[in-house]
Amino acid sequence: MGSVTATVAPPTTSNVILWFRTFRAITGSGFRRYSTYRQASAAGVVTNLVFGFLRCYVLLAAAGAAGTVAGYDRGQLATFVWVSQGLLAVILLWGWTELADRIRTGDIAADLLRPVHPVTSHLAADLGRAGHAALVRLLPPVLVGPLFFEVHLPRRWSTVPLFGLSVVVAVVLCFGCRYLVNATAYWLHDVRGPVVLWAVASGVLAGLYFPLRFLPEWLQLVLWLGTPFPSLLQTPLDVLVERDSTATQIGLVALQVCWAASILGACRLVQRRAERRLVVQGG
């Protein structure tokens, strides 16, 4: 083809160490970039805390006098809510239109000239962003929640590393989904429609409004296997609150890994298809 896009296989020398260095540098820049938005972070934390109280009271009321609902006890519900408010910012469910903006303005042309695949470079930057969010956005609700509510702490040692892995996979998966939503701009130019649909679907189907275990079992099965949404938020939270046995926890995370791998694959595929028809807008 003789084109100069980043998705064309690089020439002969492929240096793994160099690749890792580049990835780390981009990740670091993502971290630093978001650490400059201090006011926005503080405002976001306050909002997460308010919603933590709101959702926690509602779910505890749902547990009612019996003290359990859909297999969660009161402590598990409290942990579920408060950690979900923190994780929301770590996986960044909403508000990322960077790729779509770059496509619309034509800046994407510069990205395609770089020797790093756009999916890789955006993923690296997003991991840096998530790392910053884990410190600044996840910790406050996780620390404040237990001051006001009795929370469930992990009882099995295996839960902690499994939760850590699950969160990392969720970040990658959520990035992939956002990338796909943004990539519709290659065809549509205006991504408002897809973004709205994504925002609506992801909030409720990821388990943010209520734990998906509240739904009928067949619907849970359809959602988990048929859509990536539960793997975004519900899975890490279910792993953390030990709703199920260790085997089920591992199974859920494995499913999550499958979703992340296939969505990332889809991102690369879409990117390749898009580059064949991309018309750079602007000057």
């Binding site: 006011q39 909002t47 009321a61 649909l197």
Partner: protein
């Protein structure tokens, strides 16, 4: 509509040559506003498919807000001493009021962007009120679908709740959502003014606007402690949907407030509008261009 009061004089001049003083006669201003609105309507409906997708997508979020309540009742059967039918009256009052307020005033939450990009400077030099200009420049017509759906939920909930209708209740079922619109609209405006001082306030406003919507979607009895005290009575959210719903249903308040409190919604909404208007005027006076 009561938010006209804060709309009409929203843009108090910051200086003699910037706004307001050179305002055209009332008829001219009205024509100008109508032109702004017309331009918006034309530009938003220009891409018909995109607009239809937007309409559908927007109603989705409101639908899911209601679905969330129904699902939670599905596993809990009762919440804070209320059954689903009664709770839906509360949800209907909230959803209809919030959706209409969001349609009319909600886009003011973009104020931080206007301040940052300097667009607000352009708004200030025009001889029209700042607040109505901003609202009309960005009226999100796509949110009409939410308002329609919200009103439908209210009608359905009120129709199926077995309310014993009296003249007073018939008035209340109209007045309460209107007061809710004013109340939520005031919240949108008041919280947006924060960005005059704190440009990157971002999501902070959401905690009382969307947070308020979520709070008022459930019976106040669900919440507890100081959190309930602050949100329900400190900020006045209990009077948006909870107390009016009790009055409509003829239920006594489990928390002990008398039944007539249900009619107090306008008495909370109008002061809220006054506060929001004052906050807006103070904010505009405080405004210094970012220079961009």
């Amino acid at each position: 509509m009561a938010d006209r009061s804060l709309v009409d004089r929203g843009g108090t001049p910051t200086g003699p040559h910037l706004t307001g003083d050179a305002a055209p006669p009332a008829g001219g201003a009205l024509a100008a506003y109508r032109a702004l609105l017309g331009a918006q309507a034309r530009s938003q409906t220009a891409y018909r498919t995109s607009f239809v997708v937007d309409l559908v997508g927007n109603v989705g979020s409101t639908v899911f807000d209601v679905v969330a309540v129904v699902v939670i009742f599905g596993v809990a059967r009762e919440l804070g001493g209320f059954a689903l039918g009664e709770a839906l009256v509360i949800v209907g009052l909230t959803t209809s009021a919030f959706a209409v307020a969001d349609l009319l005033v909600g886009n003011i939450e973009r104020l931080p962007r206007y301040v940052r990009t300097g667009l607000f400077d352009a708004v200030l030099v025009r001889p029209l009120g700042t607040l109505p200009q901003l609202l009309l420049m960005d009226l999100p017509l796509r949110k009409v679908s939410r308002a329609v759906f919200g009103t439908a939920v209210l009608v359905a909930a009120v129709g199926s709740a077995g309310i014993e209708w009296t003249a007073a209740r018939a008035v209340l079922v109209v007045v309460a959502p209107l007061a809710g619109v004013v109340f939520f609209g005031s919240l949108f405006v008041a919280t947006a003014t924060v960005s005059f001082w704190w440009v990157d306030s971002g999501e902070l406003a959401n905690s009382v606007t969307y947070g308020g919507r979520d709070f008022t979607s459930y019976p106040v009895t669900v919440f507890g402690g100081w959190f309930r005290a602050v949100f329900a009575y400190g900020l006045g959210f209990a009077f948006v949907s909870y107390h009016p719903a009790l009055a409509l249903l003829g239920r006594a308040d489990p928390l002990g407030l008398p039944n007539w409190v249900g009619w107090a919604a306008p008495a909370v909404a109008l002061p809220a509008a006054a506060v929001a208007g004052a906050a807006w005027r103070t904010g505009v006076r405080h405004y210094r261009s970012t220079g961009s």
